[in-house]
Amino acid sequence: MSSVQQSPALEILVREPDCFSIWAGPPFPNSKPTSKLEKTPCTSTKFSEDGSKLLVTKPNGVVSIYNCKSLTEIRSFEVPNLLASTLSPCGTYLQTFQKSSSPQEKNVMVWNVESGVPVYQLLQKNMSKTTWPSIQFSSDESTACRMVTNEIHFFDPKDFSKGIIYKLRVPGVASIGISKAPGSYLAAFVPEAKGMPASVQIYSCNKDLQTQPLARRSFFRCSSVQFHWNKDSFGVLFVAQSDVDKTNQSYYGETKLNYLTVDGSHEGLVSLKKEGPVHDVQWSISGSEFAVVYGFMPAKATIFDKKCKVLFELGEGPYNTIRWNPKGRLLCLAGFGNLPGNMAFWDCSEKRLLGSTKAECSVTSEWSPDGHYFMTATTAPRLQIDNCVKIFHCDGSLYFTKMFDRLYQAEWKPEAPEKFGEINGLVKSLGGLKIEEPRKQAQGSKVAQPSSSKTANVSAPPAKPAAYRPPHAKNAAVVQQELFGGLAASGSGEMSKNALRNKKRREKQREKKAAEASGAGENDN
């Protein structure tokens, strides 16, 4: 518990056409965000992975690096014909890609941000998804490598002037993924060639152990691969996608989720109970479990531990996105994109649903670094109307929303989750809730009824329009009450004329009868 240390403040970056601004993060005083940095002109912005530096591209090929603590510009680079730029994870280096004007000119440059001096240059003809950034770093910048045809080149991130320290030969390699933290492994994907199956191999980044792959998995029917490394580099999950589905079940192709561990304890498919594409797979922040959303809609969601055993099932529902809370225990299952935007918040250690809500038409979604808030944003150019930013609490209740005319980007400033305290206050308040335990086979969407939670925190679904009442229902007491209000309430005092007359007549008849009866009785006696 870091009670002595101050937790860093949250910050949100909001980019509109031509300018960006930074808000001081939630909680917002007066329910309005205060601006830490006023609107500054830019064409694109990106934080470095650890949140220490901000890369701002201005028009005319000027790249500025801001220090995020003081929000002042520390360095500015002039790069003509700039096509793309990116920061290394710790913000030490800046890579830029320029349109090459002549075949001799080196168009990828690596600059040292502190000194402003280019430390490395190389020539790269074109840029594609697998080849940008040209030089990939691990999260702690202990390893840097670059993929070229048939080889992988390693650099020393502390000193680029040494050049290529060593090379790893992998014939036919098409894409690589360095393990994040620690950065000591490399996964390489070699696509199918001439009857040989596609394969994914794990190599160690250490030069001495590089002759043989540590682990290897071969398969057919795959055209591209996405890697997801674990936090402590225990293993890599990769999604093998193919554009054509040979089983003829889907027009969009097929995806398969495989898991490869570094020590070879698990090599193969992750056994998923439902057929269909793998929509999303995410490791938890601690790296000891991962969640998968798979299957044709409504998709199933399951959490596995890092030995690939099922931990528990989250049921079925219209979900295709997973977002793990940086503090580890909470999980948001959401259906964005072509789905209506249902979001379900789960507590994974207690295995129950916290709340659910809807955020229609969201494009991006992210937890705050301290885990208390969840922000979704509807951004242009994907959606040109209804651009907005919505911030939810971690149990799904809406906290703040702001509409924009046009919004291009909205994201949190990244911070290490360790700097923030646990979400203890939340757990205590949740203990008082009476939410029914969801059964394992229960449909996710059925369990997520807002009426099952008894606090006011959970936001109700949007108010239904007033019910239609057919004409014959206008005599119902409720409607009478609404229509005649006070008149009906004091009915005993004022009755209608007919009713009064009938009442008098009945009373008279009763009296007459009573009189006759008594008279007859008297006569008899």
Binding site: P197, F220, A240
Partner: protein
């Protein structure tokens, strides 16, 4: 004896014709004999289940043999975990059995380009289940072995050396490079 077998074959083929066309098309790789074999196995299992269901609920034979039958069905992946009554055995179809063959499973897990390729790979000794090389396309895969299907370690697909054809071509190419000026050695 021969006549008996042949008539059995005729009976099988007639019942195979009764199978829906769609099933045959999707499982087109499977020879009609194999389909018939599966149908025969299925009908014996169904007879056993039906006979057990006529017995009393607490009959020891029903309990013992019923449990054994259900355990076998679950072990081979024909029944799920939740289906633990004999009635589910009666609802099994030929498709369930055909989808547990090693040939279909190799294809479904992405280890082969097509279902015919899967059969070729199995027959050509590229596939292992656990540590054991399996050469038989109709191998019924158990649920616990399903995750242990991979390319065999000696196969060129699974990390072994190059296969026979490649070795031969490499030898020929090396010979050509080395002895190109001199006389051409006899090529096997």
């Amino acid at each position: 004896m021969g006549r008996h077998l042949r008539s059995q074959g005729v009976r099988m083929r007639r019942s195979v014709l009764m199978l829906s066309l769609s099933l045959l098309v999707s499982m087109a790789y499977v020879a009609s004999v194999s389909c018939g074999r599966v149908q025969y196995a299925l009908s014996r299992i169904r007879n056993a289940a039906r006979e057990l269901l006529t017995l009393d609920e607490k009959n020891p034979k029903r309990i013992f043999e019923g449990e054994a039958l259900l355990r076998r069905m679950k072990r081979y992946g024909l029944l799920d975990e939740g289906q633990d009554k004999l009635d589910y055995v009666l609802a099994l179809t030929v498709e369930n059995f055909l989808s547990r063959r090693l040939q279909t499973i190799v294809f479904k897990r992405g280890m082969a380009k097509s279902i015919h390729h899967a059969r070729v790979l199995i027959r050509q000794r590229h596939i292992r289940v656990g540590r054991q090389l399996v050469n038989v396309p109709s191998f019924m895969v158990r649920v616990e072995s399903e995750n242990h299907i991979g390319f065999s370690l000696t196969s060129p697909f699974g990390g072994g050396g190059p296969g026979r054809v490649k070795r031969k071509n490499q030898k020929a190419a090396a010979k050509k490079a080395a002895g190109g000026d001199g006389d051409e050695e006899d090529e096997e």
